[in-house]
Amino acid sequence: MKNTILLLFLSINLTAYSQNYNYGKISKEDFSISANSEDDAMILYKNRKTNFDYNSDDGWFVETEIHQRIKINTKNGLDWGTHSHLLLKSDGNEEEEMNVIKGATYNLVGGKVERTKLKGKSIFKENVNDYRNKVSLTFPEVKEGSIIEFQYTIKSPFFNIRDIQVQYSIPVKKMEARVYIPEYFVFSQFQKGYHPSQLKRTVKSRKINIVRRESVTGGAQTEVVKSSLEFEENRYSVSVSDVSALKGEEYVNNINNYRASYVFELAQYKPTNGQLQNFALNWEDVLRTISQSSRFGIELKKTGYFEKDIDALIASISDPKQKALTIYNYVKSKVKWNNYYGKYTSDGVRRAYKDQVGNVSEINLMLTSMLRYAGLNANPVLISTRSNGVPLFPTLDGYNYVVCGIESDNGVVLLDATNKYSTLNILPFRALNWEGRLVRDDGTSSLINLYPKQASQKTVSAMIKLDASGNIEGSQRTIKTNHEAMLYRENYVNADKDNYLEKFENSLDEVEISGFEVKNELDLAKPVMETYNFKSESQSDIIADKMYVTPLFFLVEKENPLKMEARDFPVDFGFPYIDKYRINITLPQGYEIESVPESAAFTLPDNIGSFKYVISKNSNGVQVLMDLAINQAIISAEYYDTLKEFYKQAISKQAEQIVLKKI
């Protein structure tokens, strides 16, 4: 007896010091939870429970309950006073519903907690488009220091479990999540980003009672039939506390790749009495599911719609490479991309071919089957775009894009016909994201590194004449290859030429351009070449009897692209590159060289990059050769300081001056 009292006492004592997470139980202490002054808001508590249920009208459905408390710390944090949630809907009439919404704002006024309820008028439901509804809760009386709390349930007809997000752009004090999945559904489960928590799994049995009305044979009458379903259930749970915020940085391709979360994706559905449906458990399943889809594999097998055209197109070509190129160019010019991504076709390849418009899948699957038809070993390559994140785990959603790969003894050549200026192995920037998966007809597959191995090269050559007043005049030629050329063409080809030139000229520092000309802008087999003459009056400093000039003048970037002190994420350039400068400067009569900068060369560790600057005097002037190479598309954060220092050194070298002295 004594012991019980003691225990009771202890537990009372404990709860008095701990949080009460029940809905509506906000206490004074909740307002004093200390936060970093830099955080606009903080998730004090989040509880989410996802459960499957069954009734005779709807069949299986997924129900998710959310309960959340957010503390607003600053005026910027007031945005957290509005909570929006997107609900899915399908082409049919199925859509997710949000129910039992309740919420309130709590403020500490004169030492007392005041509650203002969220009313129906502050809940807005909006039909965003054919695939999304949006529900927004706008909380009343939200100020700096307020706590908002809400609770709602989402009923979903889709067997779709949203990620358990652990990390946000604001810190999380405490988060608990449970996901209960009946044995009929098999979900693959992965962790994204990094957090030391663990998702726990237990198995419990569960019973559902089902009430159903059945018509009595031969009549309009119905009778109630009761039955029940007993099954095992996988129960996942996780609880975390004090998770720091994670915010974006530049040259990070997608911050959500790095925020910690647990991902669930439907892999298998085994109905009690039906056919087993496999979705994705491992890479083989993922690939099988995609390959067998009527909007992928079957589309790939259709050839009738183009056979005649392709026969005519390649009739006189025997070289396979030439065939490939001809077909690739044919698809690029024939079918335009409608800006929709997708690994699956939408209206189908046949329709896309006829209408001359298609999504990514339609265009590149069409290309693949045409190439196969022409006898090439072409296969689709599934990709996750930069905006979609890194496909670390075998999930169907992991891929959202497809290109074409031709395998030969020399490796794989990648093609994407959605971009007019892409060429063999030069994929659009959006597709340059880690690895893709090439899927063969026989069910085998291989990983393909999407980052280009070959550096894109920019070569600038210039002849510059410096006169005695410090003015310069000259001509330059820039040659760009690979991705540099692709990006240049994307900008240049469609632009109004006068406006392009005007903008270009204005982007330079007081330089007048004439004779501007671009060659090979449409001949993708060749590097793009830009030439122009220039004239400028503000490229030197004449002080007393000396003239100071930087030998690369306006031709080179003067800012360090990496500005921040530290970095947590890899620096992602998209592709490796080399910039080369070949500058010849003729010096004015009446001046002689007093000094020139020293030549220099240095490298980044592990062959990541290199810099070379060679300056030499010749009979009537100075010649400068400068090369800057970054050999990897993506550079891990541990090299950040070194990389930043590398740019700093390179830029200060470029800024060094030649000093000329009046004779």
Binding site: T74, G81, E126, S136, T138, K143, E502, A544, N560
Partner: protein, 636 residues
Amino acid sequence: MNLKNIVSIFLLLTCLNVVSQSNSLAVTEIPEELKKNANAVVRSYDVVVDLSSTNKMIVNTKRIVTILNKEGNINIDAHEYYDNNSKIKDLKAIIYDRFGKEIKKIRKNDFKDVSAVDGQTLYSDSRVKYLDYTPISYPYTVEYTSETVNGTTGYLPRYMPINSYFLSVEKSSYRLNYAPDLNIRIQEKNTDNIGLIREDSSGEFLYKSNNIFAIKPESHSASFVNIIPKVLFASNEFYYEGVQAKAENWNELGKWIYQDLLKDVSDLPESTINQVKKLVENERDDIAKARKIYQFVQDKTRYISVQVGIGGWKPFRASEVDRLGYGDCKGLTNYTMALLRAVGIEANYALVHSGKAQQNFDADFAIMQGNHVILNMPLENEENVWLECTSQKLPFGFIGSFTDNRNVLVVSPEGGEIKRTKKYNIDENIQVINGEYNIDSNGNIKVEATIVSEGIEYDDKYYLESLEKRDLERHYKDRWDYINNISLDKMDILNDKEQITFKENISFNASNYLSIVKDKMLLNVNVLSRNTYVPDRYRNRKLPLNIRRGFKNIDELEISIPNDYKVESIPSNKTIDTKFGTYKMSLEKSDETTLIYKREFILNDGDFPKEDYADFRTFYRNVSKSDNAKLILVKK
């Protein structure tokens, strides 16, 4: 901040006598001069507005536009808004190839149907149907036809043949058929150079204009809305979402707004009235009282964009905003107005075109317009006070470039009146930099300075106060992007909302700031306010020069050089005096290792003919040049 529908007024319309022979749609038929600077060419654009009564308006649009290149796709402009008071009866489009051959038909149901909100708006009951077409080659032509029926006639479609830069027009017409009992007012703007033809007949106005050249944007010119040709129409008698109204001038329109939209939404609960009365009981003058009320609103509310109610024009009730603690611009302004009136201070609701463009309400032509509301406090013998009620951060009485210096409609119980909002003059837009910097023998620099900003300079910077440290650091590195290797030691910010001054105490060091050549070091003297901006050059400037806001920047810095160096040469002092502004720079040695750098840069606001643009540019070039002046140090 958008009162909805305003944008949608240029309901595109339809027509009668369009030649429909397809081969006339061939791209080769377009006159060369219309292709110049054009991404798209409107081949014909015909709008017919049938105003059979005050509560029924049928608008037919037929617009044929040839899209020349990818940038021109935005000029397809095939969309119609609709809501509870307006319906789309007919909607279709036909696509033609470059030869004028039909290649695709798009029916009403194939138009995309989405909620007509921008990303910031939480909710709107307005929707839009638009054509989402992927071109298969350029050029191509879109023939768009629509018919809408409106129950609201508060604004009539305007005649505006071009609605974007880089767009030219071959043929256009606008016809307004109106019932005889309606009194229609018309105003033409910027129509001098488009050969506008007007033909009136009984119950009908007809406008035509052909061969309008494309306009190319040029920097430092008046904003697009203020230069494009347009004809505005208004009916003195109109129907506004179920309410009959009459107004032929600003006074009457204001009266109507007050009676129908504002009068019945000013209620406040007794408790709040008592609370604010208590709040200001010790304050004697109106300004001090209003200041407290403004603070009260800023602490209590937040801005939410919700577009519902009469055409998006009617505010939420003040009592509702009081209870919820949020509202849109109308709701928050109305709420603040109600609170001020509760303590006996006159304040009036003011409709405005917000944005940096300084778009005016025309004093001579009363028509519903504006996309925002603010509050006007008339003060006897003093300047009006203007209050922006949607911001939790702006100081009392500060409206900044968002609503400054433009005509707005002020609505009081007596009616409407056009007033001009505050102009921020040169002497008010001040930035003063005081400080010092030290140079060491290795060419590194250490800077310590105070930057004080007021007026529009304040407006440009006050947001810095709420930046996180990391973003603030980034901001300074960008502000002084001509200095590599900045490492910030101090970034203290003091936002004095009472005086409306923004003070930044900054210190940083930057390695290799000076370039070293043998025994010499070159110092670019202007470290903190170097002007690197030179206005764009145009081979053939078309638009007049417009400088919207002036400023005055003053710098004074002490420069210390290392002991083992001496000054070899000093850039000479500079004075530039032009009608666009003045610039003065001086550098004096005060002892062996110390120099004083002074700089004053004033830009005047104003309008100048296009011929002046080159001189204006030269002024900036010279400022830039002088800001690049270098001092040479040599080792002793």
